[in-house]
Symmetry: C2
Subunit: 763 residues, 2 copies
């Protein structure tokens, strides 16, 4: 057995045979999802067959899709092979249980999303006042049932409640309650997260993406995380911090699916589990945006759920879960509107004019630039936090920053309201009947409004850059939409003002001649601005357009949205190729492979391959003892080892399987027939030739994929992306020449990013 | 050089190294798409480098994705590598040209689809009468501008026009014109197709599916096919044959993209071309159903466009093309409604009752059974036609069958109207204001209506089963929808009648007590029936639900649609696993691999592998002459040959490349330095050792993927599906053990289907 003298040992990424270098919280990592264990049914006689025995993956490793799929195939075959009625019913029951979990997850996340909305609305309104006849009513519920024009007396601001009439006194009290409750809510969320479920912080989408592609991280989906993420999310959103609920809802949906799967004892293995999680993630997006189709497409595009399976089933399950979740949400009807959409957009003018493409293209460019800036600021903030002492005091950080946020926001009217309310109003066209939102439609206050909107956007960029990464559940979608909507509305107001000032200019010739008819619809500029900003931050395309499209409804308005999304993506891509989720994945160093096409510059696989003489391999020379082999398996932490005989490649053996088998062999050896010093072989023919040797050939994975090292690098990356491989062995004329693991490929593809690995192993 | 003594020679599928066994029309097959040739720019100095020279594929072969992708990478690198401004502009121009083609295709198919609708409506109405003031107006256009209640006098039936007043005379004249024009239109379509473009017949979707997965079939996309398919489609639909325009529109869109790509001299290779066609296909569906999202999802699910690339770009391009096509269609506005939807559905009651699930489930089961029956009848009809003398007289067949269709249809009122009009009315709820469609809403004629609807469905099943496969452009979607709508409406009427008869029964307790309020909406039953029938025939899931969903609009109604689609698919799957397109692909024996997961029964690759001793290989023993090698390359029609030295695998050489290189070597050998009898080698070290040998190593593809024959069969199928491979070599300790080609895998996966290969090589 040879030991490597690798000169690359100091680069963590080249400890590539194993992915266990993530030093995660040991407490939460001891449970390894017992209910997902494969083939716990002893009657299937797999306990005795070493080659079939399943080995649970340790947290932080990457699953072997090929092995998992083979195990699933074996499980299905065994289900069908049972005799009599059992053989007939078992597969149906198996499938029915899966669908039960999917339907329950859909219903669960729909209801959870609805109640979250209700809770947030109530907590948020509580910061401004209370309902006289019932503390648990929010402002809308409290004032419902009034005639138009009637003033709502049931809803009291805190100063009214405490009977303070002086203007200074009431202002101070309002500001004090507003800020205190913000601190209380945010601090509460942080305490919950830090104490009970550290994985409940942040958006969760980077982790979900990594998990879906094979990363093992069951603690991220525990029931505590579910509870704390949902509760903490409500508190965090209500606190007025610059964050949204969209990403965390996806995480909550995945936790829910995991919980239900355990509850109904779905005996899924790791690859099946991921297909279930993919469906749940789609449902999360469906509920977050009220858009079931957007959810499916988000699953396809951003979560890349299609990549790990060519089964149309995955898409179908995602679709069913999304629809059920959306219907459940509509059934609870949190906003009392019987509508799914978050932000009702008034159709405004049914048509748009060609000259409007100019401001929209400007918005797209601004969206790309600001989106790219936000990503950079956010990454810089995260790295700074990690390397400073702030990292030691997460709750204090949240409390301090929420105090700062509340104070700053109380001063600017557009910042003071809840983000969702702000966006909702920015997307509305001005309509004298509906009333004016804080003077937004006042034609004499154009410059004040533009200034306030730009200020709001700028402050929100700074606040969001720091907030997204604190120890509270936090999504990036809503703040991004709010920033974009502010910029867009400002641009819309300016364009409208220009058109009103020069109605006869040739560029405005397509406007209706009647000056009372609106030509420019600033509300729709807000939508375009939001789409552009989202494009710059997330770099999504189809799913983004679909989600925004479902907000507006008019097909003719898809064209401008599409143009703004794609231009903003181009601009942002020129400044840095990856969206915010990819940047976070790289910073936290999850073994995730971007689905985008990798183009090499003529390199071959040999250039990134770990050559054979640097590899730790099992040498099958039939001279070493079982004891030595066991020691070897215990000593090296890698996932597995190539087995060679001389220089010839024999196969690959998984370490855990080898260790478990050897330990069983040695401890069960009661009659002393098997000696620790006995020699062994993996080669069938050698075992046959020499019956003295212990035959380990059943452990060997002979069916290994072999490549030549002259293969273009692009092809190797492509194979890892599409086949979800864990490693590939290279050989030349039967001799082992090297090994490439997924980790090597991830390193290759993400090395260019700034801050790669800066947050690895955090928490 | 060894020759095989294969015992499987008589099975056509085992001539597996080559796919050229499709004996297609030699006339149309001589052109091999010159504008798609790779690297025609001589400055790139590839003409001299034999290893890089591109070889056009012959029609009927399968492309090598791996090679095409490598060539595209090389082309991109060369574009960027040009010096100065050219290096800066060339990639931008390249991309701009691609987008131009995409946008033009979108606009083109949108306008073509709109004009097709107008043409069909006019031709169809012409069968019943004419517009008095302008022959070129259809009935709606002719009668527009009337006040409600006013009778349209401008539109004259033919008997009115010719002034025939006797009832018998007018009936006979009407029937005669109706039938004659039907025969004229259908016959015209058949003559056009048979004379000018035989590939314009049928739906085109099976061929598009095969092309997208790598089948080379450029004649299918020629400009003649485009023209004839569009014209013939209008004639065929107007003739009243039981066919629709949806599938053929996808074909037309692909022809259009191909035409524009040639026009703008897009120097795309085969893999890039397919990505363009995928976008066009989505646009075709988008126009056919007025549903851009349905188009993208159809592309993903049915055409499997995602499988050949992990680039999100493919999805994005499809989405952009779909939206542009839909907007263009809306702009032309063929129905004058400013709406995209084909069949406006009245929302009916906003809610549905639990007891309705019973009739809906029955509809789903019926849809699955009838759908499966339709597939079987259609396949049987196609096989019968092929083996009988009908096959020799395609135009006569169309004329005769259209006469039969017209005669039968003229007798039943629901069959006489155009299918789209029938479906549109079946989906409408009864509304006294809108008038009654041929007595459908007459409450006293329940049994008459149910009988007529079931009769209509039954006749349409028989007519469609024969029509889909005649020598006219024909889609299966609309007839399927019509059959389903008839059955669904009949079920709805029965349910409504039952509820009205027993309003107090406990099962109807959830209905409103007021008997004048409608409880059951028969129109929506029509939608459910159509969805179920489509599910049974096409076996689509997500895209089907989305397309039907966009017809109804109400989210709460997605649940019943979803349930009916999935139940109908289950029922139909139990009776035969493949949808109608898969059955046709198998019958015509295209090298297409279903994307569904293949599960082996424990087999290994070795069991389907063509073993080494049966393969025709190039033996590199440095003793044969160039002449002999050239003769060898000319003699064997395979795509390429493994090169072995002794038993050791050296690499793979593509036949066309080898032949072209050898011919150049021998003909260019003016000074006689190179002798035909000279010996050669592919092995670099051998060439270095012996300078006498002609070094052919630049032709060799060393970077071959090698597997061991112990690999599970499932993994091999999976690799072919996901990596789009053309062949895989098997080796053991460096020795060639065998070869598996895509054709073998296709055979393996489709062998179970009835009638596999029954229509191979037709036309």
């Amino acid at each position: 057995m040879q030991d490597p003298s690798s000169s690359r040992q100091n680069i963590p990424w080249f400890n590539a045979q194993s992915s266990t270098h993530h030093t995660n919280n040991p407490d939460t990592f001891t449970s390894t999802s017992p209910s997902f264990e494969l083939l716990e049914n002893g009657t299937l006689s797999h306990e005795t067959d070493a080659a079939q025995a399943s080995v649970p993956y340790a947290e932080g490793t990457t699953i072997d899709w090929h092995r998992e799929e083979a195990a699933e195939r074996e499980r299905k075959r065994n289900l069908h092979a049972q005799s009599g009625l059992r053989g007939l019913m078992a597969p149906i029951l198996d499938s029915a249980r899966m669908w039960l979990v999917i339907i329950l997850t859909g219903i669960g996340i729909g209801i959870a999303g609805a109640w979250l909305d209700i809770l947030v609305k109530w907590l948020g309104d509580l910061r401004e006042g209370r309902c006289a006849h019932n503390l648990f009513y929010n402002q809308v519920a409290c004032c419902s049932g009034l005639d138009p024009g009637e003033v709502c007396k049931e809803w009291q601001t805190w100063s009214e409640y405490f009977g303070i009439s002086s203007i200074l006194g009431s202002s101070l009290l309002q500001a004090w309650v507003y800020t205190s409750l913000a601190i209380l809510f945010a601090g509460g969320a942080a305490v919950l997260v830090v104490t009970y479920a550290p994985y409940a912080f942040h958006t969760g989408i980077p982790e979900i993406k990594a998990i879906l592609r094979g990363y093992v991280f069951d603690a991220f989906l525990s029931r505590w995380t579910l509870l704390i993420k949902a509760l903490g999310l409500a508190l965090a959103v209500a606190s007025g911090l610059s964050l949204g609920k969209e990403g965390p809802l996806v995480h909550v949906a995945c936790c829910m699916a995991f919980l239900f799967a355990r509850m109904f004892r779905l005996k899924y293995n790791e690859s099946q589990k991921r297909k279930l999680l993919a469906a749940a993630a789609s449902a999360g997006v469906s509920v977050a945006f009220g858009s079931p189709l957007g959810g499916v497409l988000f699953g396809l595009e951003e979560l890349d759920t299609f990549a790990f399976s060519n089964e149309i089933d995955v898409m179908w399950r995602g679709f069913v879960t999304s629809v059920i979740a959306a219907v459940s949400l509509q059934w609870v009807d949190p906003f009392g509107t019987a509508k799914l959409v978050l932000f009702q957009v008034t159709a405004g003018s049914d048509t748009w004019r060609a000259f409007e493409l100019v401001p929209w293209l400007m918005l797209a460019v601004i969206g790309g630039l600001v989106g790219s800036l936000l990503i950079r600021l956010n990454a810089a903030a995260a790295v700074y936090r990690r390397n400073s002492s702030i990292h030691e005091w997460p709750v204090l950080e949240v409390v301090g920053f929420s105090a700062l946020t509340a104070t700053v926001c109380y001063l600017v009217v557009f910042l003071r309201v809840q983000s969702s309310e702000l966006v909702s109003n920015l997307f509305q066209e001005c309509d004298p009947i509906k009333g004016d939102f804080h003077g937004l439609c006042n034609p004499t206050a154009v410059w004040r409004n533009v200034f306030l909107l730009v200020l709001t956007a700028a402050v929100k960029v700074l606040l969001t850059a720091w907030t997204f990464g604190m120890m509270v559940p936090a999504g990036i979608f809503l703040p991004t939409i709010a920033i974009g909507a502010c910029i867009g509305r400002a641009m819309g107001i300016l364009t409208q003002e220009l058109q009103r000032a020069y109605p006869a200019a040739w560029i405005f010739a397509s406007c209706p001649p009647d000056p009372t008819v609106r030509c420019v619809s600033p509300g729709f500029y807000g939508v375009v601005g939001a789409a552009a900003m989202l494009g710059g931050v997330t770099r999504m395309t189809v799913s983004l357009v679909v989600i925004v499209f479902e907000l507006t409804g008019a097909l003719s308005h898809v064209l401008p949205i599409m143009i703004s999304v794609v231009v903003s993506k181009w601009v942002a891509d020129a400044l840095g190729k990856d969206g915010i989720y990819s940047v976070w994945i790289a910073m936290r160093q999850y073994p995730w492979l971007p689905p985008s096409e990798y183009r090499d510059q003529g390199q071959i696989a040999g250039q990134i391959m770990k050559p054979a003489h640097d590899l730790i391999v099992v040498v099958d020379d039939q001279t070493t003892s079982l004891k030595e082999l066991l020691d070897f398996a215990r000593k090296h932490g890698f996932h597995g080892f190539p087995v060679v005989s001389g220089e010839m490649l024999v196969g690959f053996v998984v370490r855990e399987k080898l260790r478990a088998h050897l330990e069983r062999l040695i401890t069960e050896d009661v009659d002393g027939a098997l000696n620790e010093t006995q020699q062994w072989t993996f080669i069938k023919s050698a075992a046959r030739a020499n019956p003295e040797l212990v035959n380990l050939s059943s452990l060997l994975d002979e069916a290994v994929l072999q490549l030549r090292k002259e293969v273009p690098l692009q092809l190797v990356v492509n194979m890892f992306q599409k086949m979800n491989l864990r490693h590939v062995l290279f050989s030349q004329a039967g001799k082992l020449t090297g090994l490439v693991t997924k980790t090597d490929i991830v390193w290759l593809v993400t090395a260019h990013l700034p801050h790669t690995g800066a947050l690895a192993g955090e928490i």
